[in-house]
């Protein structure tokens, strides 16, 4: 064999170098392109990203609705009083503070009241505004209608508006929906890890002989695990991207349907879809997250599997 004069020196120099299985040149020593990993992982990543994107979109929508409703209904109950002098107003307030579960009762700020009425009445500075009290309860009353009757018995001539109770309930519901949606995202992540792990184990089983040969040729655990992890990350990332592309039109359609709830006009044209309200940054992170989850799961699974070799 030619080159023997320097053979051992060359060999030991290369043997002691930090090994890295070279990429490029279409080399695929593990044959991962032909292993089971191919069709399974992108499909899983697609489905998981689609679910996660829908859940994230739902969470963002629920949060926006809750915020809007909270702003629109600062109090659970509003009481419009008949015109009265300040001393009588103070007595009325004191009487109302005796109501069970009342945590706050105060007159509504006149400027805020004017702002609330402005869309209907316009700027009419001279218009006298009735005194309005805002009442907050904790917990919310179970029977808003009964409460209204009780308030009228305390303040004869008052007009009671208990719609805020229902708004507060809707806000609480929206917040729970948001929490549930975020939990669904976490669950999707866990499921993705589980399914990726199963896929990788299938790939390891299919390529066991090849892996043992590489190991015997001096490949480190890191070499082999990085090969698997790189391939898994690529497949999960591509699947995730496809899932996201499928999710975006669905989210926009839901956003369009919810437009009236957010105080916007119903959507009739493409440009009116709520493009700006989607959580784009979070959504864009999903394929990356999917690729990262795949990479980390593959690294852990393969390195753990390789521990059985000496």
């Amino acid at each position: 064999m030619p080159g023997e004069a320097t053979s051992t020196v060359t060999a030991s120099r290369w043997a002691s170098r930090r090994p890295v299985l070279r990429r490029g040149h279409g080399r695929d020593p593990l044959g991962l392109r032909q292993a089971l990993l191919g069709p399974l992982l992108p499909a899983v990543a697609l489905a998981m990203t689609l679910l996660a994107a829908l859940a994230l979109g739902g969470a963002a929508g629920a949060q926006a609705l809750a915020l809007r409703w909270q702003q629109g209904a600062a109090a659970a109950v509003t009481v419009q009083l008949p015109d009265m002098e300040a001393p009588r107003l103070a007595r009325t307030l004191a009487a109302l503070r005796e109501l069970p579960d009342l945590v706050d009762a105060r007159p509504m700020d006149q400027d805020r009241l004017a702002a609330l009425l402005r869309p209907w009445l316009g700027e009419v500075p001279a218009l006298p505004l009735p005194p309005i009290l805002e009442l907050r309860f904790d917990p919310l009353p179970d029977n808003p209608e009964g409460l209204a009757l009780r308030i009228i018995s305390v303040v004869p001539g008052a007009t009671v508006e208990t719609q805020g109770v229902w708004v507060a309930r809707l806000v609480a519901l929206a917040q729970r929906v948001r929490g549930t949606a975020l939990a669904a995202v976490a669950l999707v992540g866990l499921l993705a890890v589980g399914v990726v792990m199963v896929g990788i184990r299938a790939g390891l089983a299919a390529r066991q002989d090849v892996i043992v040969i590489l190991h015997d040729l001096g490949a480190t655990d890191g070499d082999i695990a990085n090969r698997f992890a790189g391939r898994v990350a690529l497949l999960c990332g591509l699947g995730g991207l496809t899932g996201l592309l499928l999710a975006v039109p669905v989210l926009l359609a839901f956003g369009g349907l919810a437009a009236p709830l957010m105080g916007r006009m119903p959507v009739v044209r493409l440009a009116e879809l709520p493009w700006q309200t989607l959580p784009w940054l979070l959504l864009a992170g999903l394929p990356l997250l999917m690729a990262g989850l795949g990479w980390a799961t593959a690294e852990l699974t393969v390195r753990s599997w390789l521990k059985r070799l000496p």
Binding site: M1, P2, G3, E4, A5, T6, S7, T8, V9, T10, A11, S12, W14, A15, S16, R17, R18, P19, V20, L21, R22, G24, H25, R27, D28, P29, G31, Q34, D209, V210, I213, L214, H215, D216, L217, G218, A219, T220, D223, P310
Partner: protein
């Protein structure tokens, strides 16, 4: 202990001291044969640069002994020292570098079927991080050495048994290993191909590589006489 002097190893390449090997039974196995000693009380030394036959009938433990030398197994008892490293004391992360200095040839070739002859030979060089440009020249030279320069792009299933074994030898010696192990390398070959494979192994020996060839074929040993380790039922016969 083997040490380097002017690029060649001198002294001992392999030392076995009271080595025993027992495969752990699979979980739930009730087979009484499993878990018994495959090798027992093996003590011997192989000088650097030597050529040895490893002889014995099928089932005598030749492959297990080679796998211990190849660092694909760790002994259940005793000490195995290869290339100056006692394997039972070596850290796991140090083993890959050691394995890259040991070439192995198997009876069933163990080529990667989806890689061309060129890429199979290039594999250990790529694992070692060799630059693609330098590697190309070395692999081409290796293909020429085994007489298969025209089959560089052929996949293993497209090659004959003898050709596959020569590719396997090319892969085993691509890193210019200090120790070359061959497990029944001619077991699946006809007489002509067997002679060709043996002459390649002997050429490696002439160039200073320590070579151990396991076979159960006495006729092969008679054709190429040399010192031998004889195994019977997991023990060395003197």
């Amino acid at each position: 202990m083997a040490r380097r002097a002017g690029g060649l190893y001198v002294g001992l390449m392999v030392r076995f001291t009271s080595v025993g090997l027992r495969y752990a039974p699979p979980a739930g196995s009730s087979d009484p044969g499993v878990g018994q000693d495959v090798l027992a009380d093996l003590s011997f030394e192989l000088p650097a640069g030597s050529f040895h036959w490893l002889l014995g009938p099928s089932g005598a433990g030749k492959s297990s002994l080679l796998r211990l030398m190849q660092l694909a197994l760790r002994p259940s008892r005793g000490e195995v020292e290869v290339l100056g490293t006692v394997t039972s004391r070596a850290r796991r992360q140090d083993m890959p570098a050691l394995r890259r200095r040991i070439g192995v040839v198997f009876q069933d070739f163990r080529l990667l079927p989806h890689l061309s002859a060129f890429d199979n030979i290039a594999l250990p060089l790529r694992i070692a991080g060799r630059a693609e440009l330098a590697l190309r020249a070395d692999v081409t030279e290796m293909l020429r050495w085994v007489g298969l320069e025209t089959k560089a792009e052929s996949l293993p299933p497209e090659l004959s048994g003898g050709e596959q074994q020569r590719i396997a030898i090319g892969r085993a010696v691509a890193m210019r290993p200090a120790l070359l192990l061959a497990d029944e390398p001619t077991g699946n070959l006809d007489a002509v191909q067997s002679r060709r494979v043996l002459s390649l192994l002997q050429e490696m020996h002439r160039m200073g590589t320590t070579v151990v060839v396991a076979t159960h074929s006495e006729s092969l040993v008679n054709a190429y006489p040399g010192p031998a380790l004889r195994l019977a039922r997991g023990r060395l016969e003197r």
